[in-house]
């Protein structure tokens, strides 16, 4: 007969076994390594001097910013900052998390924030942060105490939290990287993130292992290997063999191969890139007339192009910002209406048609060449004789950015701050690049008010007005957002690509 003491012993033993065995079983059900194949190597492991989303995604497993975007909702959430508040229109106070250490053992404090912002924005380095938060905005950091900083800007800037949540501003140690304030870091990575750099094999393989001193919730995969495989067909073959678990940048023609494999799946996420044909309303005489710009929109059957050229993997874009961006607004599509397009052209004095040039760059965007030919065909049908022009990417990028392309050209924009203002600001007459349409009158006033308004509700209203205005002006031929495809083993769990195209691997693991 069992006594009460025996029962208690058994219960205690069971509890201990459960406590010990549960994580063990958990660990045994997972593979030790998650391998992700990417098409090109990260250009650097410098915490602030990377350019591509791929590099940023790798680097930000090892580093962290003050805030972070939620991988699903894109809301700004605290990370190394505990809270923040707007003291006055030009001053932000940020309280920092205590007890966080960098991978070199240095404590994260206000000095780290000051060092990071100075290195990433006010130094001479060529950093990504300077694009999302131009030095001209002013970013003076005052360390109030070790766990409180104040950031003072030259102009009222409601987007400071969004700018601080950008991956280009992950925190760097003031002492550990002191000698690198104005220099590239090529031989180490010191961060506060859930992983640390374990091995760099040339430029082809980067091995990250779990950071044992990480302050937050541990990531489920003990190791993440980033393996460069440039050729997409080889990446698919490696995925089919089980050599890798995730292949990034799955081209559309190879998607059926992945879909046809019982062990694999295609993971599709709407890319943040907003595709459009920019119309030079400043220097191309016919395009100064809004009716011509509207006619060019109505002449193109975008749904048919998405369905037939992109296998239906895309959604219509009806203004200059994407669907998920903060403060976005959908004014509805321009209908596909060739008779109305012809009528508008006639009203604008082009009853006998007109000629325009359409530029694109080969190899930069998926099926851009075919897309340009199809659109030229649609325009030809309403009397707009279209001459196709092609440029090599670097020259294309230079001329388009310098506002030199006439009459129309294809481009796809990212959104660096994940706020509608990132794209809307391009239509101010004093914007430095991509000036093809200058807003004026009420539209310009709305854009300027929107940029400096702090009240969230009012910001949303102003953004909607601005986006509707830009839609009505037909500043672009609004095209689409396309899905980006990733090939994934069915054993991979928790892998995500955030709506801004950032690869979210910190919650991912492979089932054994």
């Amino acid at each position: 007969m069992q006594t009460r003491r025996d029962l208690l012993k058994q219960a205690g033993a069971t509890a201990v076994l459960t406590t010990v065995a549960a994580p063990l079983a958990h660990a045994q059900s997972r593979k030790a390594t998650l391998t992700i194949a990417l098409p090109s190597p990260p250009e650097t492991i410098d915490p602030h001097q990377f350019r591509s989303v791929l590099s940023g995604s790798v680097i930000n497993l090892m580093g962290e910013g003050l805030m972070v975007r939620d991988p699903v909702s894109m809301e700004i959430k605290p990370l190394l900052a505990e809270s923040w508040r707007n003291v006055n229109p030009t001053t932000w106070e940020i309280r920092l998390r205590r007890g966080v250490k960098f991978s070199n053992g240095e404590e994260f404090t206000g000095e780290s924030v000051k060092f990071t912002i100075e290195r990433a924005i006010t130094s001479k380095l060529n950093t990504l942060a300077k694009l999302t938060w131009p030095p001209s905005f002013g970013q003076e950091v005052t360390v109030v105490d070790p766990y409180t900083v104040r950031i003072t800007t030259k102009i009222p800037d409601p987007l400071v939290p969004a700018r601080l949540a950008a991956e280009s501003l992950n925190m760097a140690p003031a002492k550990g990287l002191a000698e690198y304030k104005e220099k590239f870091v090529t031989d180490r990575f010191i961060g506060t993130g859930p992983y640390r750099l374990a091995e760099v094999a040339g430029t082809d393989r980067l091995v990250l292992e779990a950071n044992p001193g990480y302050w937050g919730t541990k990531s489920p995969s003990p190791r993440i290997v980033w393996q460069v495989i440039p050729d997409a067909a080889t990446r698919v073959a490696a995925l089919q063999r089980g050599d890798i678990d995730v292949m990034l940048n799955l081209p559309l023609p190879l998607a059926p191969t992945v879909e046809g494999d019982p062990n694999l799946r295609v993971y599709a996420e709407l890319s943040s890139l907003t595709h459009g044909i920019l119309l030079n309303a400043r220097e191309s005489p016919p395009l100064k007339d809004r009716r011509v710009r509207q006619a060019l929109n109505m002449a193109v059957d975008r749904q048919a192009i998405i369905k037939n050229l992109f296998n239906g993997r895309g959604q219509l874009l009806n203004t200059v910002t994407g669907r998920n961006v903060t403060n976005t607004f959908d004014p509805g599509p321009y209908p596909y209406d060739p008779p109305r397009a012809k009528q508008l052209l006639a009203e604008a004095g082009h009853a006998n048609g007109l000629e325009i040039q359409l530029w694109q760059s080969i190899g930069r965007w998926t099926l851009a060449e075919e897309m340009a030919q199809v659109i030229a065909g649609y325009w030809d049908k309403v009397g707009v004789k279209t001459k196709l022009q092609v440029l090599e990417w670097a020259e294309y990028n230079k001329r388009s950015g310098a506002s030199q392309l006439k009459d129309a050209f294809y481009y796809a924009f990212i959104n660096g701050t994940w706020d509608a203002s990132y794209t809307v600001q391009r239509f101010k007459p004093d914007f430095a690049s991509f000036r093809y349409f200058d807003a004026s009158g009420d539209l310009l006033k709305t854009i300027r008010d929107y940029e400096q308004t702090f009240d969230p509700k009012r910001r949303k209203e102003l953004a909607a007005q601005a986006l509707k205005g830009l839609h009505d002006e037909a500043v672009w031929v609004f095209l689409w957002q396309l899905e980006q495809l990733t090939g994934v083993s069915k054993k991979v769990k928790g892998f995500k690509i955030r709506p801004d195209d950032f690869i979210w691997a910190r919650d991912a693991y492979v089932e054994a």
Binding site: N126, P230, D231, A233, T234, K398, A432, S433
Partner: protein
């Protein structure tokens, strides 16, 4: 002199292709960021000054620093050159091992079915695009049979698919050249004399015929070595082979001038060295050349 000529040509061409700073910064970048970056990299200096500095450093073994990766070009090349040379030599060995016997057999069995099959194979080898063959090999041996790895390096098995793919660039041409050279030599008096003296057929072929047919074959191998280095660009990309072919492709797309210049210079010097060795080998293969020189 060749190195200097190549340096001038590559420097001029890469600088004519545009401004690397505009690829390094976004088109949205404020003008002061563009100016600061250009100044920091020295691209605001006159071209002759940039070239002079490049040449002076190159003579001391310093090929500059990669604009994209910010690492010394010499280090990048030294890290990756061995992989390319290993792959090229492996491809060359495969080509020689297959093509020379095939060419000899074709010549000896001239006009037979074996000859026709071997030459049809040689022509097909020359005609098949290397990327297509590589993908077929991956699909069959890598994915279907799962015998061989499809990317990367590190073991003997990793060599098989890329080396076989690369070897097809020269295999067909080499087999055809061996055949024609052997046919020419087999009709010579000294071969007939050797046979009349009762020398065994295999010795006639190996010692009397092949040795005399070797000069055009060695010349072709020397010239094709450079083509293999070039062909490695495609092979390395498909098989994720960590060589200089991929390094230079990525550098070209990113206008990483120092890397492009460095790789082209090193490859051209290898080409010159290999051809010098080929020239020197003539004297070993044909004593008449030695006598004429003396």
């Amino acid at each position: 002199m060749v190195g200097l000529g190549v340096s001038v040509a590559v420097f001029a061409l890469v600088h004519l292709s545009g401004d690397p700073v505009l690829l390094m910064v976004s088109p949205d970048a404020p003008p002061d960021v563009v100016t600061t970056t250009r100044h920091a990299l020295g691209f605001d200096r006159p071209l002759y000054e940039q070239f002079g500095r490049y040449l002076g450093n190159a003579l001391q073994g310093n090929l500059g620093v990669s604009l994209r990766m910010n690492r010394p070009v010499t280090t990048l090349i030294l890290e990756r050159l061995p992989a390319t040379l290993q792959l090229t030599v492996a491809a060359l060995v495969i080509a020689v091992v297959v093509a020379i016997p095939a060419g000899i057999v074709s010549a000896v069995k001239r006009g037979t079915l074996i000859d026709r099959l071997a030459m049809a194979g040689a022509v097909a080898g020359q005609a098949v695009p290397i990327f297509w063959l590589a993908l077929l090999l991956i699909a069959f041996f890598g994915v279907r049979l799962r015998w061989l790895p499809v990317y990367g390096s590190g073991s003997l098995a990793h060599f098989v698919l890329p080396a076989v793919s690369l070897s097809t660039i020269i295999m067909g041409r080499l087999a055809r050249l061996v055949r024609s050279s052997m046919l020419e030599v087999l009709g010579q008096d000294y071969v007939r004399t050797a046979r009349a003296k009762g020398v065994g057929e295999s010795r006639v072929l190996a010692v009397h015929a092949l040795k005399n047919a070797a000069i055009p074959i060695v010349t072709l191998l020397g010239l094709q070595f450079a083509q293999l280095l070039g062909g490695a660009v495609v092979t390395e990309t498909i098989f994720a082979w960590p060589g200089i072919g991929r390094l230079v492709v990525e550098a070209i797309f990113n206008r990483d001038f120092p890397v492009v210049q460095g790789v082209v210079l090193v490859v051209s010097l290898i080409f010159v060295a290999v051809n010098l060795l080929v020239d020197l080998s003539y004297a070993v293969l044909d004593p008449r050349i030695r006598t004429e020189t003396a």
